[in-house]
């Protein structure tokens, strides 16, 4: 039913209809509204049977999920940012054990400096963990992706992380058409584990693997990711056929035909980018968008086909690898080879990505004035002043606080 609903509540409803049996909760902004809503459903009995466990840390949230999943229960949790990093050892472990846990990641920046706003640094920090990572463009897609995620995870025995932009999506109230219980039940069969802790059929799970087999075991895990490259579009197609809605898949092309310039991005910023691209298309410019839904596994072939031989590709990403540059861009570069590739780091820590800034970026790219790596709306002045302070004074102090102090000064003082 189509309703005007907060993103977090839409996710909670959607997850509840997937009949999770063990849900772990540890609060961190901006994920809190999701687990609060699920907790209320368990407490009032509308989500049953389900064990809702208020754990003492994110590390415990993922660990309890591991135990529950290994014992045959459908397990779900949600986190963000520092929380994901606090559980990172267990995140890798869940993937290594092949446990189909589903987790919502309400994408948020990582500190220091502490920052509660949206970017994709958290997701990037676990990109090599063996989890499937799907990025939602809208709350509608996020809600649908959770239903697909359980199906995908349990098909392949691989955990799936549904990434949705913190605040921008989690706290946005907009129209979402939620599947009802009967529809979800038709799409998502009960969980049939590949491995389970059962006294009737004892198995040892989690043994040490030495040099003689570790590479093969890891390769098998990689193959399951490659299997996901097939299963993700299949599941999305089945979903579309059943419910008449396009959600998920590997990539999302938009107005790519004859485009000489393509902007690549993930998550909710795609909406703003599409508006900007529409504006330019109306002015006759040949420009398009490629949204990446599946970041892990990374759809090299689909990206290669979608980007083909373009004059320029601009990757707009909400994270970067310090000392290197774009993370998504590196993967895109691997897919497309020699095309001129620009990385534009944008929206870090919740900085708004505006249509105006995006259009300026496109103009600079066309004029050959866009660097291979650049930062959208970067305040060069404040950086130059802090670099100067650091060069002249040894004890220049904490640089984050220096920048804030600098920005807080009256303008004439800055000059």
């Amino acid at each position: 039913m189509l309703q005007q609903i907060e993103g977090s509540h839409a996710i909670a409803e959607s997850v509840a209809r997937c009949r999770p049996e063990v849900v772990c909760a540890y609060p961190i902004s901006p994920q809190t509204h999701i687990i609060e809503a699920i907790g209320a459903m368990v407490k009032e009995g509308t989500l049953a049977p389900c064990e809702f466990i208020n754990v003492e840390s994110e590390f415990a949230a993922m660990s309890v999920s591991i135990g529950a999943s290994a014992a045959g229960a459908r397990a779900y949790t949600a986190t963000a940012s520092q929380g994901l990093l606090f559980m990172i050892e267990a995140v890798y472990n869940a993937a290594g054990l092949g446990l189909p846990i589903v987790m919502t990641l309400a994408n948020r920046a990582i500190g220091a400096p502490i920052n509660i706003w949206n970017d994709h640094s958290d997701a990037m920090a676990v990109r090599d963990s063996g989890w499937i990572q799907l990025f939602a463009e809208t709350n509608q897609e996020a809600a649908d992706l959770h239903v697909q995620a359980f199906r995908l995870a349990e098909d392949l025995s691989v955990p799936v992380m549904v990434c949705m932009d913190g605040f921008i999506l989690t706290h946005a109230v907009e129209g979402v058409d939620l599947l009802d219980q009967e529809q979800v039940d038709r799409f998502l069969p009960p969980y049939e584990p590949r491995q389970v802790l059962d006294p009737e059929d004892p198995a040892s799970i989690g043994a040490m693997v030495g040099p003689e087999a570790f590479e093969e075991v890891r390769y098998l895990a990689h193959l399951r990711q490659l299997d996901a490259l097939d299963r993700i579009p299949e599941i999305a197609a089945e979903f579309a056929e059943m419910f008449g809605r396009d959600s998920g898949g590997l990539v999302r092309p938009y107005r790519l035909a004859d485009a000489d310039t393509v902007i690549v991005a993930m998550g909710s910023v795609l909406g703003t980018i599409k508006d900007a691209v529409d504006e330019r298309r109306e002015a006759g410019e040949r420009i398009g968008v490629l949204g990446i839904t599946s970041f892990r596994p990374f759809p090299l072939e689909a990206v290669r086909q979608a980007l083909g031989a373009r004059e320029r590709v601009i990757v707009v990403e909400k994270a970067f690898s310090l000392g290197m540059g774009g993370v998504l861009a590196t993967d895109v570069a691997m897919a497309i080879g020699t095309t001129t590739l620009h990385t534009v780091v944008a929206g870090l820590g919740g900085r708004p990505i505006t249509r105006v800034a995006l259009l300026d970026m496109v103009d600079r790219a066309r004029a050959g004035a866009l660097e291979p790596l650049s930062f959208l709306d970067l305040d060069e002045g404040v950086i130059a002043r802090e670099r100067a302070r650091m060069a002249t004074v040894r004890r220049s102090g904490p640089f984050a606080e220096n920048v804030l102090r600098d920005l807080g000064r009256p303008r004439e003082d800055q000059a």
């Binding site: 509660i116 921008i168 706290h171 907009e174 919740g350």
Partner: protein, 196 residues
């Protein structure tokens, strides 16, 4: 697309106001998107929320920099926060006050904007009278409906009942309706003056 920016302080229902507006628009079959300014604001701190209303899917996620309407829930924000940033000359302003724009030191705005787009409404008083609590958001939504015509008052009522249940919802609607009438009367005075 019609874009609204609501300014107030933590605890005044600023975020709720944007959500209610989005629900009201949705109930009228329109597309709507409400979102807060995403801070870790505490009670009393300046808060901003946003609402977009359109007849087609809303895709953009940028904050509202060029609002069609600005709603101000707390006059103490005036001259503290850049409340009217990006507001076009044709834009609407609704302020929770019983004073005039000029008395509030907003003479520049009066010169720049259309007089029938600048309205005030004693929303806190109306809330105290009808709801019993000094939360001006519902009343201001009534005033907003009168001022902009973007949503009908009955849709605001539906959203209020959805959110607060029949009893409290009805009281909030009474405040909203009173504000609607107040702003409507003010508009008639202004247009009457223009006709003279």
């Amino acid at each position: 697309m019609f874009q609204v920016r609501i300014h107030g302080r933590g605890g005044q229902g600023v975020v709720t106001a944007a959500e209610l507006l989005a629900v009201a628009a949705f109930r009228e079959g329109r597309h709507a998107q409400a979102f807060p300014s995403f801070g870790s604001e505490r009670t009393g701190a300046p808060v901003v929320s946003y609402c977009r209303i359109d007849d087609r899917e809303i895709r953009t996620r940028e904050p509202i920099n060029a609002p069609d309407a600005v709603v101000i829930q707390d006059v103490t924000l005036i001259h503290q926060v850049d409340l009217f940033s990006g507001l076009e000359e044709s834009g609407y302003v609704l302020i929770n006050t019983s004073r005039t724009f000029t008395e509030l030191g907003l003479g520049e705005l009066v010169e720049r904007c259309r007089p029938d787009h600048l309205m005030t409404c004693p929303a806190t008083e109306l809330a105290l009278e009808h709801v019993g609590r000094p939360v001006p958001n519902a009343a201001l939504l009534g005033g907003f409906a009168a001022l902009t015509g973007q949503v009908p008052i009955h849709a605001i009522g539906d959203a209020l009942r959805d959110r607060f249940g029949p009893t409290i919802g009805e009281r909030n609607l009474a405040a909203a309706t009173a504000a609607f009438d107040h702003v409507r009367a003010q508009m008639e005075v202004v247009s009457g003056a223009a006709a003279d």
